[in-house]
Symmetry: C2
Subunit: 429 residues, 2 copies
């Protein structure tokens, strides 16, 4: 790739072979989101700096990574770093929207941070949220939706859930001061990644005393079926509220037929704004260790951000890059959407008519316009992995037929021009 | 709308009622583009300033309106102002892509210019181009594609075509110096808008002498059928090349069955880079006077921009905002994608099962999670214009049935729970 024409560092060009897969993923996500009653929302890429830096928005750390610019009127602007802040802003700007408000938004966000493997400066978020319901029924629907998405993609999902209230009560019970909660939470979240010893080490280094660490580790390591785990936590009176919510959530997931939801007490998730249910979904038996979806309940954020009414909310974010990596392993990668390529042999006009017939029938098709030889056309068709071609020769046309060639097997057969669309449709469906 | 939560000036929030329509338009465009053999491409929003300001890119005027910023590494960046420059960049960066390369790209672009009615600082372009074919067959395909798009949207299209070579030969013939060509071209383009007198006045004010103006006006005002117009221009020997191309183009449009393509010699289009065919499509019998699609051939741009090989190209850009305005008049506007809303009356669990059945059947559906009364739920359903609801009462459930209510007519009927998905599908299909 010529250096001077590379995309900006941290951003990517998606050539057709990648974009076709990403588009299919997005189409499937949209379809699932809509069956679950979520409607699409679109907001600008640019937000006023005032909004992005507002209290209870993304916070200090994220602002350091936000692309900042001024318009010609001198207004301070920034490229959005997530889709949650715009969601809150839209709710505040349009108080007449009936609640619950169920929306999804799939779009780019930007963060000018360090580039590591799998981290980009421009990336996509696929966010689905409901504002205005505090029922665990709403939380359960997200878990079901994750499962439906996974099934559509042939992914075996491991859906882990916990509850921030439960986690906070564990920390209270262990005597962790409130100001250390978030920091401790971040360490706890690493249990499945760095193991028990790793977490202990991190907690000690963060100044948590040994007795507290012991209590924490003991509780977040609890193993067993969901019912067994719930039973143990029911014995800790500080944990009552969180346990009740989790209990209700698990009950609803059973009604929805979910079998792959498991309570993982060490699940914490980094974001400060979660207030109840938290969840994260991983791919079982895969090299891909990043989660493909995650989310939770944030009952205080909208009210604090907008300064208006408290509006309970819960949502999930799907990772387009992770899903895309997972699917690249399974799906065939095509360099083009074209299913059939028409090759005229001194039959330009007839070939145009034939390709028109194919397109009218909804078949993605193309025709040589530059008058190449048959062999050069076949090379082109091969280089794009187009599965079929139609060779339109003068002699065949006189008999109202054309030659259909299967590019994989090399097989050729004569078909009647009238049946071209029908025959091709049979093959590609 | 609360002032502090408004979107950035010149940008827009698209709430579901607007976004649903825009999404349908984009889906239809994609479908048509793909049947014509164009594959999707995606490029970053941010480009290096060096690329955006490169010779033969957008030019001085557009750079003044380009949002400029620096990343943390001090790199000079800008938000892309069109999708043509990224297209050229991708071709230069990936010389291995087989030609002809047919791609479409639908995405945001940004221009920090004055805001007038219908002009925004963030807007969408839907660009379809082929690089690597100089045949008029390729040009004709775009005209056909415009017609197919129009038909899908129930729009009566007026497709105007001309050729830059023809126009240049008219200007030569009239004695206009080459350095005044673009400026004169811009005035000519206004003929259908400001009329003959308006154009005369503009040309005189631009220092074109009366004799030249007379010749220009005479030629660009030629009226008649395509064949009549071509016949007249065939009499001007300076116009030979442009007329031959136009002649061939019109011949191909006939093969493709197009009846609404007309040669308009005054058609000019503003962009400097066009080299041959130019076209623009309007909506017949509509209040909307802006074109919904326009494009042309630009055989020199890619080679000049990349500094590598000359690659002939032709393309079209569809206007999402114009199409959206046109369709808003025809299509029903929905505030939600939801077709059916399930209302539990003390039947939360059964209702969850029913909504799951509906979703499994691919029906966009939702359920009350917040335990509202029947009348409050009906208000909510009405406020979102959801067409149907299912009322799930205890007594009905005991008889394995639920009440289906048509929100438009108020009619209600009992249906068996087993048949819920089937019955609803019948209604909404």
């Amino acid at each position: 790739m010529r250096e001077e024409f590379q995309p900006v560092k941290g951003t990517r060009d998606f050539l057709p072979e990648d974009k076709i897969i990403r588009q299919r993923i997005v189409d499937t996500l949209r379809e699932v989101f809509e069956t679950f009653g979520f409607s699409p929302l679109e907001t600008p890429s640019l937000e006023r700096w005032e909004i992005l830096s507002r209290k209870y928005a993304g916070g200090e750390e994220i602002l350091k990574e936000t692309y900042r610019l001024k318009d010609q009127g001198g207004r301070e602007l920034g490229l959005r770093y997530d889709l949650t802040v715009p969601f809150c802003r839209v709710i505040a700007a349009n108080p007449e929207i009936p609640k619950p408000f169920k929306r999804y938004q799939i779009g780019r966000v930007w963060r000018d941070g360090p580039i590591k493997l799998g981290r980009y400066r421009e990336f996509w978020q696929c966010d689905v949220d409901v504002a205005g319901s505090s029922s665990m029924m709403a939380d359960a629907e997200f878990l079901k939706m994750i499962d439906v998405v996974a099934e559509k993609f042939g992914i075996n999902a491991d859906i882990r859930v916990s509850n921030r209230k439960l986690l906070n009560s564990i920390l209270d019970y262990a005597g962790v001061q409130e100001e250390k909660r978030l920091s401790v939470t971040l360490s706890i979240d690493k249990l499945e990644k760095i193991g028990r010893d790793g977490v202990v080490e991190e907690l000690i280094s963060k100044g948590i005393d040994e007795e507290s660490v012991k209590k924490i580790i003991e509780l977040i390591s609890i193993n067993g079926t969901n019912d067994e785990i719930l039973k143990i936590f029911k014995g800790i009176k500080e944990a009552r509220e969180g346990v009740e919510e989790l209990d209700e959530l698990i009950k609803y997931t059973k009604i929805l037929g979910l079998k792959n939801v498991r309570i993982v007490p060490s699940l914490a998730r980094g974001l400060a704004y979660y207030t109840g249910t938290i969840f994260e979904a991983f791919i079982k038996n895969s090299n891909i260790t990043s989660s493909f979806a995650g989310g939770g309940r944030y009952d205080d954020l909208i009210g604090k951000f907008t300064g208006v009414d408290k509006i309970p909310a819960v949502g999930v974010s799907f990772g387009l890059d992770v899903l895309s990596d997972a699917l690249k392993e399974k799906m065939e990668r095509n360099k083009t959407v074209v299913s059939v390529f028409v090759i005229p042999i001194n039959t330009k006009e007839k070939s145009m008519e034939i390709v028109s017939m194919l397109r009218d029938a909804g078949i993605n098709s193309d025709v040589d316009t530059i008058g190449r030889s048959l062999s050069k056309n076949l090379n082109y068709v091969n280089s794009l992995n187009i599965p079929y071609c139609l060779i339109v020769g003068k002699r065949e046309i006189d008999e109202d037929s054309v030659k259909l060639r299967d590019m994989n097997t090399g097989e050729e057969k004569l078909i009647n021009i009238r049946d071209v669309a029908k025959e091709v449709k049979k093959l590609i469906d």
